[in-house]
């Protein structure tokens, strides 16, 4: 039987503290493995209820399961925090691509603007030539 309150996993694994930033792949693999072991233990306790007909004993098993599930939650919390850090690191490549896309959009806008400006200048030149022709005739 498990004690009513197991030694804190979070105190051993230091959840979400500054040390979390230094959590390496091995630590994450260990946590994942521990999570898997606890899931298996929870399943085993659940299976044991198939043969229990005494209400008090069944309640004791469920109480133990509650303790195990709490520890599953603690480890899941640590794994989730570690994965969120990995996601933050990986998304930096998207920033770079985003800048690339924005630069290209700017280039398209600029070249369109240049063509419009040249058209405008030519239209003005055209008008100037017309005026010059009118003045020459006069």
């Amino acid at each position: 039987m498990l004690p009513a309150r197991l030694p804190s996993i979070s105190s051993r694994c230091n959840p979400r503290g500054n040390d979390m930033a230094n959590t390496d792949l091995t630590a994450n693999a260990d946590l994942k493995s521990m999570h898997g072991d606890l899931l298996a233990l929870n399943q085993k306790l659940s299976n044991s209820l198939d043969d229990i007909t005494d209400a008090a004993m069944a309640r004791a098993v469920v109480t133990e399961m509650r303790e195990i599930v709490h520890r599953i939650d603690l480890i899941q919390g640590l794994l989730f925090a570690a994965s969120a850090k990995k996601i933050s690191d990986a998304v930096k490549a998207v920033d770079q691509a985003n800048q690339q896309a924005l630069k290209s959009l700017d280039q398209i806008k600029t070249v369109t603007g240049v063509v419009r400006t040249v058209s405008g200048v030519l239209t003005l030149v055209d008008k100037a030539i017309d005026i010059a022709k009118t003045l020459a005739i006069a």
Binding site: I52, I68, V69, D73, F80, R116, S119
Partner: protein, 297 residues
């Protein structure tokens, strides 16, 4: 001897042939279609909404079970009532989605037909201005329209080329982000380290709580216990299906982006079609799960 009119017609014909050739060359480049890129963009937004809903319901369930445990303890500590998906980490997921969303929006803009149309209009204006200034410089007044079309296609090709280049830059990061997200959710509810495993353990606890209740009562009193047990089992299955479908949508978003980075329209089309179906199914499952929860309450 060619007449002047016949010579002019021949010159115009040659110019059209040259422009036609250039247009065909430009149109022959690998392209990605704006609707597909827009569908990828919408898929990213829809996946985020579904994830938010899934995360909120997971945190609610965990909190309820943590409270059930906490009331049996001699004293209360912060770690006794944790939020399994803590706010800082959820915010990191949100930021990742926001960045991918913004990037996808810019890709959509980059290959928008409006850019090419604007440039085509400007080019036509320039051709018209040249023709007015020097009528002999263009063989035919209608050539300015073809010139504009050429300009439009050039910009379209540049937009598509640059979009694919940006996608290539983003792809390694996008693949890592989506594969990490899919791994967190988990391939199955038995998987070590997966959210699906954690969620299943909570449903198992709740269902086994009912099994203990069952032994404590007799006869007709057992009916409501069994009914509750079945309701919990249905909720467990609905939530697991929802999470599984969400994971698949995320993997297909990764596949769609991979196709985009390769400039493969066929792969992009099929991935986008799958994403749409899966997100619709995820939404339906989420609604089904919520209705089961309401019935349970």
């Amino acid at each position: 001897m060619l007449s002047i009119a016949a010579f002019a017609r021949l010159r115009a014909g040659l110019n059209y042939a040259l422009l036609g050739g250039l247009l065909s060359l430009a149109a022959g480049c690998a392209t990605v279609q704006q609707p597909q890129v827009e569908a990828f963009h919408q898929g990213v937004s829809a996946a985020k909404v579904q994830l938010d809903t899934a995360f909120a319901s997971i945190n609610r369930m965990v909190t309820q079970d943590e409270i059930d445990r906490a009331i049996t303890l001699p004293n209360l500590k912060d770690e006794d009532v944790i939020a399994v998906l803590d706010a800082d980490s959820v915010a990191r997921w949100d930021t990742a989605f926001a960045k991918i969303d913004q990037y996808a929006a810019n890709l959509t803009l980059l290959i928008s037909p409006d850019n090419a149309k604007d440039f085509g209009t400007a080019t036509q204006g320039l051709a018209d201005a040249i023709a007015t200034l020097s009528p002999n410089s263009l063989p035919s007044p209608t050539l300015s329209t073809a010139f504009a079309e050429f300009g439009r296609i050039l910009i379209e090709v540049k937009g598509q080329h640059d979009a694919v280049a940006a996608a290539r830059t983003a792809d390694p990061g996008i693949q890592k982000v989506f594969s990490e997200m899919a791994a967190v959710i988990g391939e199955s509810s038995q998987g070590a380290g997966s959210l699906r495993g954690t969620v299943r353990s909570h449903w198992q606890l709740r269902m086994d709580d009912k099994r203990a209740d069952f032994l404590a009562v007799q006869g007709e009193a057992r009916r409501s216990v069994v009914t509750n047990y079945i309701a919990l089992r249905d909720q467990r299955d609905a939530q697991d299906l929802q999470l599984g479908m969400l994971r698949q949508s995320i993997l297909d978003l990764a596949a769609a982006h991979g196709a985009l980075a390769r400039g493969s329209n066929i792969d992009l089309n099929s991935a986008v079609a799958l994403i749409q179906q899966e997100l619709d199914a995820t939404r339906a499952l989420a609604e089904h799960f919520q209705s089961l929860q309401s019935q349970g309450q």
